[in-house]
Each structure stands twice: as C-alpha cells, then as structure tokens.
Amino acid sequence: MTRRAIVNKLMFALCGLAAFLTVSTLFLILAYLVYNGGTSISLDFFTKLPGPSGHPGGMANAILGSAEIIFFAAVIGLPIGFFSGIYLAESADPWLPAIVRYTADLLNGVPSIVIGIVVWTVMVVPLHHFSALAGGVALSLMLIPITARSTERFLLQVPRELREGALALGADKWRTTATVIVPAARRGIVTGMILGIARISGETAPLLFTSLNNEYWSAGFKEPTASLPVMIYTHAVSPYADWHRQAWAAGLVLLGLVLVGNITARMVLTQGAKRS
C-alpha cells in the first residue's frame, strides 16, 4: 500500500474509533446506572419519605415534587413557547422575527444556574419563600425558547402546497395557520414539547435556590419542595453509603423518565412520518 492509502485507512479507522467511543459512553452510563440503581430500588422508594442515615426510606415526596414543579413549568412555558413559535414561523414582520429567533437561541444557551439566580431575585426574595412555583418558573424560562424554536421548525416543514391550497380557497393567513398548518405539524410540535419537558425534568441547578429541597411532603406550592434531581445531588455528596444507594435509585428513575421521554418523542415523529 502507498503512504496515501495507509493514511486513508488509518484516519477513517480513527474516526470510527471516535464514534465507537462516544456512542459506547451512553451504554456504559446506562449499564452502570441500571446495575447500581437496580439493586438499590424498592417499593419503599416510591412510597416513603427520605430517612436519616441508617433508616433508609424512599423519595416519594421528591417524585411528587418534581411532578408538581414540571407541571408549573409546562403550564407556563409550553403556551408561551408555542405561540412564540407560531410567530417565528408565520409572521410577516420585517426584522422582529430574526431578533426573537436569535435571542431565543441565546436564552437557550444561558447557564441554568444563572436562571436560578434571577428567578430567586424575582420570586423568592419578594415572596420570602422558596417554593415549587418558583422552581416551575425557573424551568419554564428554559422551556420557552426550546418550545418556540422546535414549534417554528416543524411549522416551516409543512409543505408549501398545503399552505397555498388553503389560501387559494380564500382562507386568510391566520385562519390557514390555525386550521391547516398547525394541525399538519402537530406531531412535530408535540415531539418538541416532549423533548423540552424531558430536558428540563433533569435540571438541578435552577432548582437549588428556587424550590430548594424538603425532607418531608411539601406544605403547598408556595413552600420549599423536594425534587428528584436535587435529592440525587444532596444524597450523592453526602458521606453515607445508604444515602448513596438512594441516589443511585433516584438516578435510575430520573434517567429512565428522561430516556422514555426522548424515545417516545422519537416514536411520535417517525410514526407520523410513516403514515403521511
């Protein structure tokens, strides 16, 4: 073989190795988490409150708390993101869409800990309470740009003929959007929303100073509330071995939820592609 042929083979082999290494990381993580989490999980995990070291309980309050925080985030973030996405895809305004689009991408890249600080200043400080609601607001700020951009993307994928077909029948632009374009793109839009929820449900940093944490059931949405990610953090950095096992169990549950969300989203999309 000539030198050039050897370089050719070698470089592509190295690229293949890089791909193998990166993809295998996922399986390594899954395997390790399933092994450690699987041996730590029990029915108690889903039904009991956390206990002190030596008296392992469960994380029922954190599971409920996470659900509550994500619910607030979705109720606030999804509509704002959705309608902003419609604006980005459909508006005929001259320069505003480009600015909003760019800003949404920047907002999406803002470190989540910074979002946590800001929500602390606007919600926790004036209300004098860490709360599930503040946590939900923090996560919603992350959900908005994600939903906006994915909604926009899927609206723009609707074939032009469909749009023109409706307009040709005399429907005005916004009626066309509401009755033809959005329904045609609904699978994609829902996919984007599921992915967004999956993404924020694992976020920890924005919750540290908004919903804080709670060893017990939360006294209400205006009170400090436990969440799975924060629980994983506090248990993992603790010195107790039995708390570590609880962290593994929580990690497995959280990752399971996130991956199920991602795979569901994927399936919603590919099923739609097959049918149309």
């Binding site: 050719n8 690229c15 996922l26 993580i29 309608f83 009626r175 999956a198």
Partner: protein, 296 residues
C-alpha cells in the same frame, strides 16, 4: 381577526426578549453592592473571604476557563472524528441511529453525570490515570501534587463527555450540508476518500464545525452540577491540573443559599453576571457561524 392573531403571537414572541432583558437587569441590579465595592478589581482579585467580606472572581474564572479548555481538548478530536465517521462513512440508516444515541447522551441530566463521576470517574482518575500520567511525564508541574481524583482534570473529562454530543450532532449536520460536487471535485483529480474529506469537505464545513465547538464551549463554561460534584471546591489558582479548584457555576451552586450579608450575595450574583456575559458572547458567535453554514 387576522390583526388580532398577529398581535397576540407577536406579544408572546416579545416576551422572549423581555425575559432575556429581565435576566440582564436583575443580574445587574442585584450585583450592585459588589460592583460598588470592588469595581473591575473584582475580576482580577484572587481573594475570596466571606469573613472579611472580600471577594474576587479570578480563581473561579481560572477554574471555569481551564476546565472548559481541557474539555475541548478531549471533546473536539473525538467529536469531530465521530462526526466525520457518521457523515462520510456510514449509510443514512446507521448514521441516523448512531446520531440518535449520541443525542440521547446529550439528554442525560447533568446531575447523573455528576453521580457517576463521583463514584466511578474520581476513583479511576485517582488510582490509575493521575499516577499513570505522573509516571509517564515524570511529574511535571501540570501533573504534580497528590492525586486526589477530584480537581480540574476530572472536571474537564466529565465536561468533555457532556459536550461532545453537541459537537457531533452540529458538525455532522454541517458536513452533510456540503454539496456532493465538492467531494467529487477532489476525487476527480485522484484524491483518496480521506483526502477528499480533509481537503474539500471539511474546509467547506469549517464554519459549522467551529460553531459546534463554540456551542460546546458555552455549555462547558456554564455547566454546573457535574462539575460541582468533582471539582474539589477550592478557591485558589494552582498550576497542577490534579489540584482541586472551583468554577463560577459551582461556587454559586454551593454558596448561594448559605451566603450571609449583602456583599457576599452580590458577589455571587456578579459571578453569575460574568458567567452570563461570557456564555452570551460565545453562544452569539456560535449561532452566527452555524447560521452562515446552514444558509449557504
């Protein structure tokens, strides 16, 4: 009716601008005491003493930059290499499947990376990688000192794993967007497949690839949980990559709820402001570069 719909959606869209503006204003207002007391010296001071109310950002800036740099050092060759493999060497089916797996990796929450890192990566670094590096290099300055396991290097490694999915998926898109004629032009004068990739395809996609690296950099700079769990929490500047350090995001995560006193809190918010500015600039560049390549 049409006017109303246009107006309502515009209002929602403007809320995105308002939120971003709110971030800037709040960070600016709530860092007032620290900005007032330390001025620009905040960025260059290495002192971090809550007891005497003296605060400087340099150890955290240093830790943030050095861990992100280490992350890119590992993630760029791996990520770009994998992207080349996925774009140039595999069929569309396999490429899509592998890319989906890589994107799943990007979906793994930060705190789970941290959990795994504490119990697997840290002992692995302490027992094998760090002593190994010391033996091979003879313990030069950057690899000197006691191998604790936690520290800059370990944080860099975990950041690399967390950022290469971004490099892979964005670079792959950029490579796939290169017109086939570019590759064929090189092949037609007798280039090997690798030469065509390296000389024709990659230069054509270079802005997108650089954009993906900037994107990864911005992620690494702002990454909080995983880093906080393995960085070692030590606000000082050390030459050794094995030394425990601190990053902006992790000091905020650790000290914010325990900060007593207005100046202390304001100093932490100002750190947040610095981090915000840093990531906005890097991200802004990344988005511009990616836009240029995908438009062409």
């Amino acid at each position: 009716m049409g006017k109303l719909a246009a107006g309502v959606t515009r209002l929602f869209a403007i809320s995105i601008l308002a939120i971003t503006l709110l971030l800037v204003i709040q960070l600016w207002l709530h860092s007032y005491e620290a900005r007032q007391k330390f001025g620009l010296g905040f960025l260059t001071s290495t002192l971090w003493n809550p007891v005497t109310d003296e605060f400087g950002a340099l150890p955290f800036l240093y830790g943030t930059v050095i861990t992100s740099f280490l992350a890119l050092l590992i993630a760029v060759p791996l990520g770009v290499g994998a992207a080349i493999f996925l774009a140039e060497l595999t069929g569309p089916k396999l490429s899509e499947t592998l890319t989906f797996l890589v994107e799943l990796l990007a979906a793994v929450p930060s705190v789970i990376f941290g959990l795994l890192a504490i119990f697997t990566l840290v002992p692995f670094m302490r027992n094998y990688v760090q002593p190994g590096l010391q033996r091979v290099t003879g313990g030069i300055a950057i690899f000197s000192g006691h191998p604790y396991g936690v520290g800059y290097l370990t944080a860099g490694v975990i950041l690399a794993v967390m950022t290469f999915p971004f490099i892979i998926s964005v670079s792959r898109e950029a490579l796939l967007a290169v017109p086939r004629e570019q590759r064929e032009a090189a092949l037609a004068v007798g280039a090997t497949q690798w030469e065509a990739t390296w000389d024709a395809v990659i230069p054509f996609a270079r802005l997108g690839i650089i954009g993906s690296i900037f994107l990864a950099l911005a992620r690494a700079l702002g990454e909080t949980m995983a880093v906080t769990m393995v960085i070692g929490n030590n606000p000082s500047i050390r030459a050794s990559l094995f030394a425990p350090g601190y990053t902006i995001a992790s000091v905020i995560a650790n000290e914010f709820t325990e900060a007593t006193g207005d100046v202390y809190l304001a100093a932490l918010v100002e750190l947040g402001l610095v981090l915000f500015a840093l990531t906005i600039i890097i991200n802004g560049l990344a988005q511009l570069l990616i836009r240029v390549t995908t438009k062409r």
